[in-house]
């Protein structure tokens, strides 16, 4: 019995050294720090009714006004249930960490055998000594894993923020296009009516009537298409923001914000990205955890199991004689056939894989950062070119055509032709501004984490390459 007590005392002492406890917020403060610092938004894990109430009120306030990109991100951080699930997963991983940092539970066994008047009773307390000895190492690994989980939650936050930003930009741009086409359609409708009236007075033949009316017909079709696209873009934003029911009546701004006066200057964009990228930090922690695991494997390569058991056996012979025996039982497993080499190799190669993955990731991050910055600058220049050159020139053309119309130099339908060309330029300008804000979100993601999924960036590239210039 004395041995058993001694074992228990040892276990308790060791446990105190490596034991972790649950945090008050399930590890959210670290996530809020990282994600909040980068997005400038409040990050909240909604757990109780109080949280829900607070988030609800904040969401209502944000949805009351035309929804800016920033407001959309905040609404999503509060309401996206996928993100909340990620936060719950974080809390779950905290439990795993706590579990891993506790000493191994001792095994108690009680055996009683009787027959032929004889009785044998054995009590045993057994504990995994090796596990206890390596507890600090294991607990360190668990802490790294938890820290990793926190970063992953932060990354999920950033990803969502970037997605929401992109979705908001797309939805507003789609709305702006709808507005433009509504304007164009009303002009086209007026001239189409004029064309049919001229058919009635005899001034326009069937061919020319059709020519003048086809713009109206085409614009109507384009408007329907644009409305559909705007609806889809809005729904995507709604999904990301996690909204339903009454919350769907929010308004979007009529147009995208103006371009910034000058573009961000980021000479150290690569270094910034390597320093900031959350996914890179996750990979780095992975490597640290694996290094610790490798140490663990090295430490335990020759003995993989060391069970120490204290025994207390009482035997009652048939003749009533009582024999009492005490002792201990040591069991250990020696990897004779591979000398532990297999496990060490496995650990080492896992480490190497992680190392190479991290290096690869860093190379990719650098490249992504450079690419994103160049795209950002190019998108800024293109959108600025539309704002400074193309649209003012279109305005001059429009004014001069109106003067020519007023002084009877050109026909009213020449104005229609000019309006069509102006429309094409204005569409391209909207696309260019949209592409700039998408590139801006992309740049932030490339520096901080939250890079878009492949499909999204492919879409954006395609639209940047082929601006609609109908």
């Amino acid at each position: 019995m004395q041995g058993t007590i001694r074992l228990a005392a040892l276990a308790a002492a060791l446990a105190l050294a490596g034991c972790a406890s649950f945090s008050a917020d399930g590890g959210m403060s670290a996530v809020a720090d990282i994600a909040g610092h980068i997005t400038g938004k409040e990050v909240a894990s909604v757990r109780g009714d109080d949280d829900a109430e607070r988030v609800r009120a904040a969401t209502r306030r944000l949805l009351a006004r035309p929804l800016s990109a920033d407001a959309a991100v905040q609404v999503a951080l509060f309401n996206n249930k996928g993100l909340q699930a990620a936060y719950s997963a974080l809390a779950l991983s905290e439990a795993d960490m706590v579990e891993a940092s506790l000493p191994p539970n001792p095994t108690f066994s009680l055996m009683r055998i009787s027959g032929d008047g004889a009785l044998e009773a054995e009590r045993q307390v057994a504990g995994d000594i090796l596990a206890l000895a390596t507890l600090p190492l294991r607990s360190e690994i668990a802490r790294e894993r938890f820290r990793q989980a926190q970063l992953k939650a932060a990354l999920a936050t950033l990803r969502l923020a970037a997605e929401v930003r992109r979705a908001q930009v797309r939805a507003v741009a789609a709305n702006e296009l709808v507005g433009l086409l509504v304007e164009a359609q009303s002009a086209a409708e007026a001239t189409a009516k004029l064309a049919s009236k001229l058919g009635e007075t005899g001034a326009l033949n069937r061919l020319d009537q059709a020519r003048e009316q086809v713009f109206y017909a085409e614009t109507t079709a384009e408007l329907a298409t644009a409305r559909r696209a705007a609806g889809s873009a809005r729904e995507r934003l709604i999904r990301l923001m996690g909204l339903w029911g009454d919350d769907l009546n929010f308004r979007l701004p009529d147009r995208l914000p103006a371009l910034p006066r000058r573009p961000l200057s980021q000479p150290f964009v690569e270094a910034d990205a390597v320093g900031h990228r959350i996914d890179l930090q996750v990979a780095r922690l992975e490597l640290t955890a694996l290094a610790t695991a490798l140490q663990l494997s090295e430490a335990t390569r020759f003995v993989t199991l060391l069970d120490l058991a204290g025994l207390d056996r009482k035997t009652v012979e048939p003749d009533g004689r009582v024999i009492r025996e005490r002792g201990y039982d040591v069991q250990f497993q020696i990897p004779i056939f591979d000398g532990g080499e297999v496990r060490v190799r496995q650990a080492a190669e896992t480490y190497n894989i992680a190392f190479n993955r991290l290096t690869e990731r860093a190379v990719t991050v650098r490249s992504e950062a450079r690419d994103a910055y160049r795209s950002y600058r190019a998108a800024f220049d293109i959108a600025g070119h539309y704002a400074r050159e193309v649209l003012p020139l279109r305005r001059i053309i429009s004014e001069e055509m109106q003067l020519r119309y007023s002084s009877m130099q050109v026909d009213i339908f020449a104005l229609l032709l000019e309006a069509r060309q102006r429309l094409a330029s204005r569409r391209a300008a909207i696309d260019a501004v949209r592409d700039f804000f998408l590139a801006e979100a992309e740049l932030s993601a490339a520096v901080n984490g939250g890079v878009a999924s492949g499909e999204d960036s492919a879409q954006q590239t395609a639209s940047a390459l082929a601006p609609s210039n109908d």
Binding site: L198, E200, T201, A203, L403, S407, M408, L415
Partner: protein, 444 residues
């Protein structure tokens, strides 16, 4: 006669004071230049045989000097700016500061020595259109003489064997140079009194241009679709009126260097065509008319007596030639309700104007137009808009004008009861619907 020469001397001095450029050699006469577009007073001869000088519409006559028994003139071919009418300036080529160039006046039998200096960026020549002269003086580049290269001065010498009205223009790259405004008139006064001298003798040349609204240079390759129809490179309301004294015998000499004919119509009078660039018509070939066609590359000289006081329209009768710049590819909007038109225009051109739904009458509208673009119909009289442009002006017949007074006498003061007036109460016109003739023929 002497007093008239004294008057002329002062006019010649005024001309000489406006000389531009240096006299290159003592043997070459000065080249006077003109910077005004208003009609200059007649230039009475300072030397040589006397004559009744012409008045060039919105132009001037070129002063000369006598050198022995030669009359010497100096023409400088050069780029000029010409105001077509207030509000529109064009960049043309011309002579001595203006396009068209100054009128050259001489007397039948005069020996002329005309120096021509080329300040154009390309070579030129001067052809004396209609003048009978030695072949080597005819001014056809390549055929009768070498081209006058930029910076060079050539001299033409010939005798004016015939009285009449002629023209001058380049015969080197002439399509471009005439489209740029290189032309002028030559008037050779008769030594005897045939045709009889008149009290007022006007001269001008017609030219056409294609100038895109808002631009300053003519499109020299345009062959048919011109939009500026000018008399002496002026358009109404930029063309001076022709003031004449009641009872004056009036002569108008018209040259045509456009690419189409112009039926010139005078209101309130009948005239006879007495001459062409070929000479004088025999009296038996003259017949009265109020419109005469001036063919391409020809001259017509009209004579009439101004015996009907008033402001009389005088214009080309091709209606689009009395319009300034206008688009030709226009739908006819007559019959479309104004509201519907306004809806379409308002959407496409918020600052545009609605017009054309009842016709084009728009003389009293303020029409915004591109820079350097004249309204297509303009000018106003004492009763309202005249709605004319291009080849239009008025002959103003008045009592008691001074002999050499060519100033605008202002609008005509109509004697009471001589102006068309509105009927006080006019019922709907009565119509017969059975198609029967309204005049019943009397039975014999």
């Amino acid at each position: 006669m002497l007093s008239r020469r004294t008057l002329l001397g002062s006019a010649a001095l005024a001309g000489a004071s406006a000389v531009s450029g240096r006299v290159q050699a003592a043997s070459i006469p000065e080249a006077p230049t003109m910077d005004k577009t208003v009609m200059q007073p007649p230039l009475h001869p300072s030397a040589g045989p006397d004559y009744q000088p012409v008045v060039t519409l919105n132009g001037w006559s070129l002063p000369f000097r006598m050198n022995g028994d030669w009359k010497e003139f100096h023409l400088v071919a050069e780029p000029v700016t010409r105001e077509f009418a207030p509000g529109m300036t064009t960049h043309l080529w011309g002579y001595n500061g203006q396009s068209p160039g100054p009128t050259i006046e001489a007397v039948e039998g005069d020996k002329l020595r005309i120096f021509v200096t080329n300040k154009l960026p390309e070579y030129t020549t001067v052809h004396w259109h209609g003048v009978i002269l030695p072949c080597g003086m005819d001014g056809v580049g390549g055929l009768t003489q070498p081209h006058i290269k930029p910076g060079k001065t050539f001299v033409y010498e010939f005798e004016m064997k015939h009285a009449g009205t002629f023209m001058y223009h380049p015969h080197a790259d002439e399509m471009v140079q005439m489209a740029m405004g290189m032309m002028g008139m030559i008037v050779v006064h008769p030594r005897d009194n045939l045709p009889p001298p008149v009290d007022r003798d006007f001269v001008f040349v017609m030219s056409t241009y294609r100038i895109e609204p808002g631009s300053y240079l003519p499109k020299v390759n345009e062959m048919t679709d011109f939009n500026m129809w000018t008399w002496n490179a002026r358009v109404f309301p930029g063309i001076d009126s022709l003031p004449v004294r009641l009872g004056d015998r009036v002569r108008i000499r018209i040259g045509n260097l456009t690419m189409t004919n112009h039926p010139i119509h005078l209101h309130g009078h009948k005239f006879k065509v007495i001459g062409t660039d070929g000479g004088w018509l025999p009296e038996t070939a003259q017949f009265p008319e109020t419109t005469t066609d001036v063919p391409v590359g020809a001259v017509r000289v009209l004579d009439f007596t101004a015996d009907n006081p008033g402001d009389w329209a005088f214009h080309c009768h091709k209606s689009h030639h009395t319009m300034n710049a206008m688009g030709h590819d226009m739908r006819n909007l007559i019959g479309v309700p104004r509201k519907e038109l306004a809806a379409a225009v308002g959407k496409l051109a918020p600052d545009g104007m609605v017009m054309g739904n009842t016709g084009m009458a728009m003389g009293n509208m303020e029409m915004p137009a591109p820079d350097n673009t004249l309204p297509m119909m303009t000018g106003s009289g004492q009763f309202g808009p005249i709605e004319m442009g291009g080849m239009f002006t008025t002959v103003k017949v008045r009592e008691g004008l001074a002999r050499d007074d060519y100033r605008d006498p202002g609008p005509y003061q109509f004697p009471k009861g001589t102006v068309a007036y509105e009927v006080a109460s006019a019922p709907e016109p009565v119509r017969r619907s059975d198609g029967a003739p309204t005049q019943v023929r009397t039975q014999r």
